[in-house]
């Protein structure tokens, strides 16, 4: 079983729709990060959330860290084809950044 469970595994939507993807764990994390990976490339960091209940916005992307610091969500408003990619959440196993663990990701396809 994964330390970080992401859902859904696949999501295909039309341009302009809203969506939310989830990252859940039974463990408490000191922080969680979200990455986006495009085909043929490595993941790229989008955001880090640190405080329980924290909400961060990055243009049309809204990230939330659960109050208990066991889960996080990513909401995209008015999705665009450029949002297509694999969204990964990650958290440090031992409270520092020396050994991040990743979820399996949500593969998002936004159709024009």
């Amino acid at each position: 079983t994964q330390l970080l469970e992401q859902s859904p595994q696949f999501l295909s939507i039309q341009e302009g729709e809203n969506l939310t993807v989830y990252c859940n764990s039974s463990s408490v994390f000191s922080s969680l990060q979200w990455y986006r990976q495009e085909p043929g490339e490595g993941p790229v960091l989008l955001v880090t959330v640190v405080t329980g209940g924290e909400v961060k916005k990055l243009k049309r992307l809204t990230f939330q860290f659960g109050d208990a610091r066991k889960d996080s969500s990513l909401h995209i408003t008015a999705a665009q084809p450029g949002d297509t990619g694999l969204y990964l959440c990650a958290g440090p196993l031992r409270g520092n950044n020396n050994d991040m663990r990743f979820g399996a990701g949500t593969r998002l396809t936004v159709k024009p």
Binding site: S30, S31, Q33, G42, L45, N97, N98, F102, A104, G105
Partner: protein, 113 residues
């Protein structure tokens, strides 16, 4: 532009061969990592290093070893390649302290035949 560079994008090797995957970063980062990425399993940590000549096992170190002789270079070694090591291999680096993100290379897709 800061960068993590992996020496090969695609590699095909035969079963039993010794395989070297090279990774170089130009950001003076203390920490370096090797992950493998497989569909449905996500990124799994193989080995990491937080200093020159230091290494720690990740979750799936069996069949792999690493070398870090210089701060900027972290090599992953498959001692005797097997077909179940066919995968995408990703190298990453990060600063030593604090909550910071990883910078990833573009990956090496290794096929063992």
């Amino acid at each position: 532009d800061v960068k993590v560079t992996q020496s090969s994008r695609y590699l095909v090797k035969r079963t039993g061969e010794k395989v070297f995957l090279e990774c170089v970063q130009d950001m003076d980062h203390e920490n370096m990592f090797w992950y493998r990425q497989d569909p449905g399993l996500g990124l799994r940590l193989i080995y990491f290093s937080y200093d020159v000549k230091m290494k720690e096992k990740g979750d799936i170190p069996e069949g792999y070893s690493v070398s870090r002789e210089k701060k900027e270079r972290f090599s992953l070694i498959l001692e005797s390649a097997s077909t179940n090591q066919t995968s995408m291999y990703l190298c990453a680096s990060s600063l030593g302290q604090g909550i910071v993100g990883y910078t990833f290379g573009s990956g090496t897709r290794l096929t063992v035949v």
